[in-house]
Symmetry: D2
Subunit: 139 residues, 4 copies
Amino acid sequence: MAAKMTGPELMDFLETVFPQVKDDFEIEEVTDMRVRVRMKIAERHLRPGGTVSGPSMFALADCAVYMAVLAMIGPEALAVTTNCSMDFMRKPAARTDLIAECRLLKLGRVLAVGDVLIYSEGGEAPVARASMTYSVPPR
Amino acid sequence: MAAKMTGPELMDFLETVFPQVKDDFEIEEVTDMRVRVRMKIAERHLRPGGTVSGPSMFALADCAVYMAVLAMIGPEALAVTTNCSMDFMRKPAARTDLIAECRLLKLGRVLAVGDVLIYSEGGEAPVARASMTYSVPPR
Amino acid sequence: MAAKMTGPELMDFLETVFPQVKDDFEIEEVTDMRVRVRMKIAERHLRPGGTVSGPSMFALADCAVYMAVLAMIGPEALAVTTNCSMDFMRKPAARTDLIAECRLLKLGRVLAVGDVLIYSEGGEAPVARASMTYSVPPR
Amino acid sequence: MAAKMTGPELMDFLETVFPQVKDDFEIEEVTDMRVRVRMKIAERHLRPGGTVSGPSMFALADCAVYMAVLAMIGPEALAVTTNCSMDFMRKPAARTDLIAECRLLKLGRVLAVGDVLIYSEGGEAPVARASMTYSVPPR
């Protein structure tokens, strides 16, 4: 299956439907069933000590799977997260952008499942992993 | 096992170690192995349409389990989330506070496990459920 | 919502569609959105030392949610598990039946979500918790 | 980090500590932080229609992560599963062996996290994914 939306098209759509997060994320690469998303870390994402908060990592994983789903099915605001599981494995580097590598494992008629590894930029070992299920509208 | 910290003590501790979230949460009740936490919904927690965002619900569940753990072990900033699973089951009511009912299922030597049901205030059916594992420091 | 099937009706259905597990389980109680299921522990469920294996606990949680769903929607072999998360919190008592207390948190048009606590019979603290999502056929 | 045990050594250990599952699994490949495990499907793993049961897939994922952990830390019967999340994405092919590709994402002082993709032999799309956390004994 081939992607139906490019990175810039995804960013435009994100800015339209979720204007409050448009400054947090940058789509770095879109290929079939895969996206790479950067989270531009700012004060609001941090915990004392400069480490990125859990909710920020959740937001990144959620956004990455959403972008991967939209890339494949086209602009569709109605896809919603129904399930997530995450493992927080290492402390992210202080004040460093996060990079999410997302792969769609399933894009079904009603459910899509994506897997995400999150890295501190430049780091080799993932700081977190996530799996997200999206309910996708009939198409 | 009896709780070692009261709701006001937990709030004081939260304000000291996580000042950036102190306005989001209110501890409503603390009993042995259980807490009830309110999320005071503001613009920053919403998605278009007024519904509460997924990352906000994650933040609430995470905070509730953290508060439940601290209530039992005493003030300890070093407890960290290692795993979470969440099911997002219903759309939260628009612009309505969320209430998290948390129960600790395990408080072990190194790991604590808490279960959370999240409700829109006044709602009967849970909008989300979460399980969180915390790694707790030696005590 | 009221249950459409009784415990004996559920057992009959289980024996028909999953004859290979009929000797493992006993439905102890069925009420609206809740079931209690016993796993009759035999040699085949054990690990060395007499403790119940992880796959056996998974099988029990899975069966309990399936029974809870069927109790509400009627006999329907086509419901399938799409997601599970489990926490294994304590070692089950040796050679002791397990009891699963299951509550359906959501019974939607396409997805059902159930929560399960598993106890060694007579034990006060749960040995495991599980959440299971079932995809339910159109009805 | 380099693996400390070979595939045959892992099989010998498995047969000693879990004799009841020795006929179910075959270690196909062991490399640093990765293993590939085959589940030799027999009648006892099947549901009506010939499809592999959920508990069998859980058992395979659990075994694969256990083998990956042991390969890295050496023979250690005391590692135990503390958490699992699984997505069941496609129906496995009837009466066909399953192949689990496991990668350890973290091997810490007290916790190890592994990710598993399960395929029907010869299939291109994964039938299930799993993440497992093991509690590892002090070493």
